[in-house]
Amino acid sequence: MKRAAWYLVAGTVAGFAGVVVFHSRATPAAQPAAAGTGGAGPAQTGQAGPSAGSSPASQPSQPARSSPASAGGPAHSAAGATEQFGYGKLAVKVTVSGSRVVNVAVPVLRTLDPTSQQISDQAIPMLKSQVLAADGAQINGVSGATFTSQAYVNSVQAALDKLHLK
């Protein structure tokens, strides 16, 4: 299920793509300060990825914290559908203020077995900061393991290509 929480802010800026990406493997630690776009691009206010799914967000494993960089405007939160990932299932709760993602929390984490739980405990915190830091970033391309031409269709690179296609 590839449908996950991500925004593509297609910049009106000449020839450059602003891509805002976040994902579910995140713990609610502090958001990198002021990494936002400053309202660039077609802002999607208060819309946080997949609409509320099966996740019981009322029992977060760790409480969500609002961002130290209060972006102004009311904050909206939405819990995403529980998704399968490499080692189990998790759901994500995303808080958006204005056009900016201010927090990503993981209220639900169910793993397949104790080994996976260990892997998840390590993997999620280590990878959290990178994902949040992608907020507001601009990229020209994506480097990754070679995708098949079928997988390309749903890739971030394909989305970038569409911005400039002639």
């Binding site: 990406v21 990878l127 900061s129 992608a134 070679t146 296609l165």
Partner: protein
């Protein structure tokens, strides 16, 4: 260790020439060619793109290990010697030798099941060939992405460098980091096409990395070294750290990260 600094606020009013992107299917994946056309008119642009894509299809025809009649397949079966084959094969074989040495043996096309298999290098090599066509044509700047391995020249906008996101190994729609690229970046891992990375020492699939990224001046070499780090994990990373001009970034299977230094993350 890895140098991460906070991303600068984006500038929505940034001026720059319009980019043109063209996507071409070849070698079982999709190549994205992103250009700053400069003064090149539309017709010239199409002709240049056609010539660049022709090099990709030529590389596909010569190096396909799926096509049993391709020159590299004949070499693998021992039906032909290097000297009997198109000169590109010897050129790639020489680059493979250099990469095998540089990687401390973690990249070894001669140790693959079924015989000589340059797949871990040849896509990066093909990207460089296509990029050279664009460079010679007078295009101001370009970046070619061969299914996740990228090479570039020039600037996408005045004062800017090409920015490349590193795909998150467990999420197709997320990034593990963003770097600025002067010449080439390659990433290797098993999250797209399953466990195809073979340890030359054992002949078995390796699981020592979730994602391995290498930057440097040549994409053929970076591609091979990324394969090496994906196979050899921390041990191969140490080898790449000794190769002048190249840097590596490894995400281990447990999600922890390490790097050789030399890669500056903008986020």
């Amino acid at each position: 260790m890895i140098n991460r600094r906070m991303p600068a606020p984006t500038d929505p009013g940034q001026e720059g020439p319009p980019l043109v992107t063209y996507a071409e299917t070849a070698m079982g994946t999709v190549f994205s060619l992103t250009l700053v056309p400069g003064g090149l008119p539309g017709r010239g642009l199409r002709s240049v793109l056609g010539a660049a894509c022709a090099t990709l299809h030529r590389a596909d025809a010569v190096f396909s290990t799926w096509d049993r009649q391709s020159p590299v397949s004949r070499l693998r079966r021992g039906e032909a010697l290097l000297g009997d084959l198109p000169p590109e094969v010897a050129e790639v074989a020489a680059e493979c030798q250099a990469a095998r040495r540089a990687s401390g043996g973690w990249f070894d096309p001669w140790a693959m099941p079924g015989g000589f298999d340059p797949t871990g290098l040849v896509k990066g090599w093909a990207v460089e060939r296509a990029l050279a066509v664009l460079r010679r044509s007078g295009i101001a700047a370009a970046m070619v992405n061969g299914g996740g391995d990228l090479a570039a020249f020039g600037s996408p906008a005045p004062g800017r460098r090409w920015r490349v996101g590193i795909r998150h190994p467990w999420r197709a729609d997320a990034l593990a980091g963003i770097i600025e690229v002067g010449a080439a970046v390659a990433t290797s891992g098993c999250y797209e096409r399953g466990p195809h990375l073979i340890d030359p020492a054992t002949g078995l699939a390796s699981g020592r990395a979730a994602s391995a990224t290498v930057t440097g001046p040549s994409l053929a070499m970076a591609d091979a070294l990324a394969t090496a780090v994906a196979v050899g994990g921390d041990d191969a990373l140490a080898a790449v750290g000794r190769v002048g001009g190249y840097a590596a970034y490894l995400i281990r299977p447990d999600g922890s990260e390490t790097g050789t230094g030399g890669i500056t993350f903008v986020s």
